[in-house]
Symmetry: C3
Amino acid sequence: MRKILIQLDTDAQPSVFDRVVAVDAGVDELFSYGNVAAETVEPLVHGAMFTRGGEGLKNTAVFIGGSVVADGEALLEKVNRTFFGPVRVSVMMDSNGSNTTAAAAVTLAARHLKLSGTEALIFGGTGPVGQRAAQMLAAQGARVRIGSRSLERARQTCESIASSDDDAQLAPFETSTQAGLSAAGEGVSLLIAAGAAGVEFLSQQQRNTISTLKVAIDLNAVPPAGLGGTYVTDKAVNRDGVICYGAIGVGGTKMKVHKAAIKALFEANDRLLDTDAIYQIAERIASSS
Amino acid sequence: MRKILIQLDTDAQPSVFDRVVAVDAGVDELFSYGNVAAETVEPLVHGAMFTRGGEGLKNTAVFIGGSVVADGEALLEKVNRTFFGPVRVSVMMDSNGSNTTAAAAVTLAARHLKLSGTEALIFGGTGPVGQRAAQMLAAQGARVRIGSRSLERARQTCESIASSDDDAQLAPFETSTQAGLSAAGEGVSLLIAAGAAGVEFLSQQQRNTISTLKVAIDLNAVPPAGLGGTYVTDKAVNRDGVICYGAIGVGGTKMKVHKAAIKALFEANDRLLDTDAIYQIAERIASSS
Amino acid sequence: MRKILIQLDTDAQPSVFDRVVAVDAGVDELFSYGNVAAETVEPLVHGAMFTRGGEGLKNTAVFIGGSVVADGEALLEKVNRTFFGPVRVSVMMDSNGSNTTAAAAVTLAARHLKLSGTEALIFGGTGPVGQRAAQMLAAQGARVRIGSRSLERARQTCESIASSDDDAQLAPFETSTQAGLSAAGEGVSLLIAAGAAGVEFLSQQQRNTISTLKVAIDLNAVPPAGLGGTYVTDKAVNRDGVICYGAIGVGGTKMKVHKAAIKALFEANDRLLDTDAIYQIAERIASSS
């Protein structure tokens, strides 16, 4: 029975990126849909549920993508509600590459740091990638500072993560003023920049004042760099004693995680590959390489 | 030469159900189109006609689907008019599963009844599935009662079927009043419920008053049952002396018919798989199993 | 690594014709997009660029099609601007079959005429196919007359072709009056009709007055013929001493050129298959057959 992946994309045109990765991950047939919304997805999910029974169900799976992560989250919620009992197929959610990118960044940090107890600051921590990286770091026992221009939004993100993880150690920080930035950076050993393109969160000079810093990961692919003094192709490059990664340096790991997650969808008919599960896949890859 | 199926769907998103079945029926390449209308289909059909000549034409075929059967019928009519002479490809029409569902129901009835001479009542007989089941039953020599809330619509359906089958034995019945229901049910040995979801055509108690009844087939998948006292998973279950089938019980046979029809498309370049041809395929499957 | 062709079509429904040809040319995976515009194509191109690195890039390619050639040209221009440095994939542009049709017509003419020095008149010479045929003929050293209802538009087309080919020998002609037609046809040995359907550019009687005529190619598939006295299935048919080709007679060669061009896309990651490159492919096919 051929492996069918149903790509549900919330953008008008289903992502070429996600399609190429699906093909390279060994999917046999790719059904690609654009403009998919929670309101209209039900018959598409029914088509996955009611065609291949029993053991056959694991050969059909759903991938949720698109550039707007909130839309993907709403779609995931609706897809899960459409299933009932054992009549379901596996689902992966990776809108805008949010889960695979965050998982790649955090597992790369773990190559150089023991995450448990690490003080980490995430710039753009309220955005989709930042929030997911925070959730993954917190689950590994790191003490996570959510940085944002808005202290209020940072606080909301902390609460949102804590609501599903009692043990998470989280603190909100305002990082757009010099004072806020100094406080947020004090004593951290890990920096991740996960904000919108075009924003420099801190300059190289400011970065150099954080004497405890060990690892800096900048997920911004478009100049200027989100972290001054890191470069887009950096891949574990030691710069003034700090291990640096840029977006392209993280990209290879992200791609491996993405492909492994697609493959994992077809191991059973009930996989739900969202933030936690995708981090576990990334960890498994890291430990076997 | 690879087998290409061109799925022309009148809905915005081409049916996942039909796509999975096409893949499982052995189609090599599936070209799926949504929002297809009679007005815009011509260039798509030309692309099927003018690419692979002669013997090669049989490796391309067209499937017409979508949730609105009348739209599919209009599309079929236009596709057929676009062909000329031997420059054509095979076409299957199964909007909303109407032909394959009706064919499955009627061939299952034929396991238990000699259709020729059988008195049959079809609830929802003016709808797309009901009308097709009536046409198939009449072609096998059954005496078919078309049940509807509107006697006038039932009459029109009878005339429509009779216009292409001189020998059809058909009678219209109004079935939404107690009196109409009693008259319609009197002396029937086969009941098929093919109406809209959410309508109970007759209660179990009413059903029990039809002493001649032998087979009851309820094609409604969503509660309440269209025929009181039948269950969605029933598959030749004897209940108080009546052989019962529910929608899921019919589903396995429907799927076999659907796949066999897709395969048959590629046997030649001039197959037209609409109601009659799909019934013949269903009959062939029934007699060989 | 599977060969992926990304079909970017400017029409609402991506062309079935182009899809079938891609499959028959050996493409493994076809990603088909409709309603593609220069304004929205960037993320699709990025998906081709940023998934398969280095050597792998040559296994992804882009095909630009659709019925409006000017839209395809704008799309091609944007796709090329989106690439940077070696991070690119091969691209073929063949909106409305314009390049492959023109290349087929010109290489067929070359079977019967030494193109260099040939006097050629192209009816509909300002349209997409006509302009491309003119460009190809001029590049081979033919003296090309661009025929049009509007002398001004013919002049613009001459200038446009000359702007990228200093050596092109081109002259504009108005061909909708009897006087214009007589002047345009005087002394030509090759006629190509590449105009809109439904226009007879000259009658058989008028054609017979051109005593120097050797080859007449009519690319119009729909009656009436663009060139009186040629027939749609003509394939090197000698009629009154003139070798005649009709649209279907040219079609087989066009199909070979189209398939060969698709195959050529995957030889490297930097092929740009527009007018000149597609003519070279057609010439290679002609010389090897």
